[in-house]
Point group: C2
Amino acid sequence: MSKLVIVGTVAFDAIETPFGKTNKILGGAATFIGLAASHFNVDTAAVSVVGGDFPQAYLDLLSDKNIDVSGVEIVKEGKTFFWSGRYHNDMNSRDTLVTELNTLADFNPVVPVNYRDAEVVMLGNLHPLVQASVLDQMELKPKLVILDTMNFWMDCALSDLLNVIKRIDVITINDEEARQLTGEYSLVVAARKIHEMGPKYVVIKKGEHGALLFNNDYVFYAPALPLEEVFDPTGAGDTFAGGFAGYIAKTGDTSFENMKNAVIYGSTLASFCVEKFGTERMQNLSDKEVHKRLLQFKQLTQFEIELA
Amino acid sequence: MSKLVIVGTVAFDAIETPFGKTNKILGGAATFIGLAASHFNVDTAAVSVVGGDFPQAYLDLLSDKNIDVSGVEIVKEGKTFFWSGRYHNDMNSRDTLVTELNTLADFNPVVPVNYRDAEVVMLGNLHPLVQASVLDQMELKPKLVILDTMNFWMDCALSDLLNVIKRIDVITINDEEARQLTGEYSLVVAARKIHEMGPKYVVIKKGEHGALLFNNDYVFYAPALPLEEVFDPTGAGDTFAGGFAGYIAKTGDTSFENMKNAVIYGSTLASFCVEKFGTERMQNLSDKEVHKRLLQFKQLTQFEIELA
């Protein structure tokens, strides 16, 4: 069975949307990535850090999904990373209300020994030096390394970011971030410039407008499923990445054609994530529901024009 | 052979983009719709009005594309409708600099007698009473009536617009207009409300993000081809509609499955339209080029996940 290493935050979120407001609930990139990847029956380990305030029940929840949490360090005297945000009425933009790094500030990721030969590594959004240190620990060159990042690191750690970007195969990034990273408005030109930085594959996430997968001259466009209601977008991008990484780890096939399918799985899982607050929907998502929505995705996008 | 009636402006445009600036050039909704529909070998008539200042060469250009211009009234003492606009750097928004209605102010469309049994009618963006008067002239109920409109008519002729919307089969509208017409942010909910106003099919155009086709519970999402450069977006929406209408007229098949193909043809043709100023690209577009780009659209959107 393939192995998948996920590095990222395991955290508390507090979320306000036009539909309501939560207290501190389970959040974090590695959490969402892991829950999405759990649909693919691969050996998965989360590498992260939490404080002594983090409930054992949350760790158990991840373990119950067959996510190995031995790489989640518990700093007893520390506090868990906490993020709080408020979404605007259009649900496409948000204000960050609170960011408390807490134990994340001194996070030194340690990949469990039995995962240092993992075929797929998913570097969730973290300081680029932390992402790089995970790669340094791998004893075999992974078949595929996927990196997620955000504008914050472009602003304050650009050269570290560029160094780790050189070492990866797939970057997932949103449209505004792709524009910021390259100074190009056209996403086609931006993707080409990112290829030149290292990654052979560039995934540009466009939220409700779907996602683009670039590999030099090849492009694939997976639309997002049009939804009646987006309840809470938190974690949708990480869920997408987790579905992508999990599908690649399961199939072991890193061809462009198979990555198209990985993008579709990612989009499908992300379409569930936004239906409830935080991880709620992803905690209780059956394979049957996923299968049904994949069929919807086929209906949504497939057509039958006969061409020679 | 099927017949297609197009009503809309035949006009002068003057366009400014970050790439340059034109003098008065050929424009107008019926012009773009007609040029797109000319790729489908159907008997096509344009119904419009121009002034004595309109060059015969422009009418000849349309005739050469097998568009019957006998329904384009020439008001010798009048002037042709003129629109001028300036696109912003993102090419997604624009300012209207000049709108001179001229002969369009008193436009009384007359459908040529031999086109009053046309199978497909494409009502380009015009005053809803003008659109309705075209329907009144049809002697046989058309197989499919498609209507395009814009926010301007929602602001100043809403009840006339709602009356003509009741009588049509397909509406093409952009995302912001769909939201304005229904007061709903979610496009899924907006489409449902528009269904209730009459049209069985709702096409929501999202520019660079593609187009959605709704038919009650069914949705199809055709992405736009990611382009290196959008040179001039003028006429892209009309080109989309012309491709859609032309394909339906050619195939005579108004099923949802076939409408998916019509959306793909519309998107394909629109992707060419934006490559040069005004109608320039559409005047010199070969069927071979269209065929090649359709293949690109298949590569862009089709995937092979095996599902039971």
